[in-house]
């Protein structure tokens, strides 16, 4: 890859919008080209500074009352609010049928919400893997797991000493933030591929057994659930291998977070 090609792809690279193969090509180019490395670093810093300046400017902030009233205006009325007692008595057959539909709808709604929440978490995990483990491109520097345990969630400390499956050597263990979500992050290599184990508070959205979660990224994400934490295994390995790695980590993670 030439300097021109790399620089033309700087924006999508920094926004994590490229295919894994293209990203790897750029990373390889940056490893050997100090000028492009300086250029990319300058752009990354300018982006981060712009973002934090916009996010911190008091004059641009929404009034809390505005956000509250906006939420109130958008939120639909409670499902049961306008079912009157009279209507129920007069049309009990119809209402009974409707109740069945409502229960079905409720279950559907719950599953749909779980699915969407898990997809959001999985996309965050994929983004963290890409920006932290592969590109070292996070806006905020990772911190030691012990610090994260003291400040945010005691569970992170256990990842610092967690035993990995035999033959697997951790490259890094820390806590990092991607798009506002904090993760406990263990990076290791499997079959010469960089793999991330990411743990975050997840309200039990994933299933107990590892399962692949579709994301918009070219990376594979397998998720499973340990109590109040969601666990993600992210890699560019094939589906089967990613799932197998996740499977091998269930017990160690479960024991560490027990």
């Amino acid at each position: 890859m030439t300097c021109r090609e790399a620089r033309e792809l700087a924006d999508p690279f920094l926004s994590d919008q490229l295919l894994v193969e293209t990203t790897n090509e750029i990373v390889r180019h940056l490893e050997t080209c100090p000028a492009c490395r300086a250029e990319f670093e300058a752009r990354r810093r300018l982006r981060a500074r712009l973002r934090s300046a916009i996010d911190a400017a008091p004059a641009l902030a929404a009034r809390p009352e505005f956000v509250a009233s906006l939420t109130a205006r958008l939120r639909p009325a409670e499902a049961t609010q306008d079912i009157t007692r009279r209507a129920w008595l007069k049309t009990w057959m119809a209402a009974a049928a409707a109740a069945v539909v409502a229960v079905g709808g409720g279950l559907f709604a719950r599953d749909e919400i779980r699915r969407r929440r898990l997809a959001v978490l999985a996309a965050g995990a994929a983004g963290d893997h890409q920006n932290c483990a592969i590109k070292f491109n996070l806006a905020e520097q990772p911190i030691p797991l012990e610090d994260a345990a003291r400040r945010y969630d005691p569970a992170y400390a256990t990842l610092a000493t967690m035993t990995l499956p035999s033959g697997v050597v951790a490259l890094a263990r820390h806590s990092c933030v991607f798009e506002g979500r904090r993760f406990g992050h263990v990076v290791f290599k499997h079959s010469d591929h960089v793999v991330s184990l990411l743990v975050t508070i997840g309200d039990g959205e994933a299933s107990a057994a590892p399962a692949l979660v579709p994301t918009n990224s070219a990376l594979r994400v397998a998720a499973f659930d340990i109590g109040t934490h969601a666990v993600f295994v992210v890699s560019d390995l094939p589906d089967h291998d990613t799932l197998a790695v996740a499977q091998s980590l269930v017990e160690p993670v479960r024991q560490a977070l027990a």
């Binding site: 924006d11 810093r45 973002r51 916009i54 499902a79 409502a102």
Partner: protein
């Protein structure tokens, strides 16, 4: 009259919308404030954007960039509002700018630079260039998403970004920032 099914569906949509879209309200509002420079206008714009987004939430694909999706809606709503008010034209899509042949060098932003300096430099460049820089660097939208949001070709987005960054560099330099930086040559 709404059926129980409709109400349950509305609740489900709202809960998913609340989980995915509402966390972006703060940054969406900041963008609206930056573009409108008027709190009442910005609040109206964000409210209309969110109302439209909720109504068409079934079109949103989970796992994709929700902030970019909301920003695209905001830009469309804004364009319609401006057209309705018969203000200045939104996009000069007919005036194609040439994408420059060189990629500009971005000077490192020193830690001593305050947020106010940076925002003042951004504010000093033309609005259409501020807009693409914000959409690309702050909202992290793809060129394609920005083009769709602004209703201009991708080439125009790229050339505006190129020119915008050049102007931003000059604005930072004229404030005494980066004036001593030399252009980094390509190997």
């Amino acid at each position: 009259m709404k059926t129980p099914w409709t109400r349950v569906s509305e609740q489900a949509t709202w809960q998913a919308f609340e989980a995915e879209a509402m966390p972006h309200v703060d940054r969406l509002f900041r963008l609206a404030m930056w573009l409108e420079r008027d709190r009442t206008e910005a609040e109206d714009l964000v409210q209309e954007t969110l109302a439209q987004a909720l109504q068409s939430f079934h079109r949103y694909r989970p796992g994709t960039n929700c902030r970019a999706w909301l920003t695209t809606i905001l830009q469309h709503v804004r364009a319609n509002r401006l057209r309705a008010r018969a203000r200045a034209p939104i996009a000069d899509a007919g005036v194609e700018e040439r994408v420059a042949n060189t990629i500009p060098f971005v000077p490192p932003v020193p830690d001593s630079l305050t947020d106010e300096d940076l925002l003042a430099a951004l504010e000093s460049i033309p609005a259409q260039h501020q807009e693409v820089i914000l959409l690309c660097d702050v909202q992290e939208m793809t060129y394609k998403e920005i083009a769709a949001a602004l209703g201009v070709p991708i080439g125009t987005v790229m050339s505006r970004l190129h020119r915008g960054r050049e102007l931003l560099r000059n604005a930072l330099t004229s404030r005494g920032i980066g004036s001593s930086q030399r252009e980094v040559g390509q190997p």
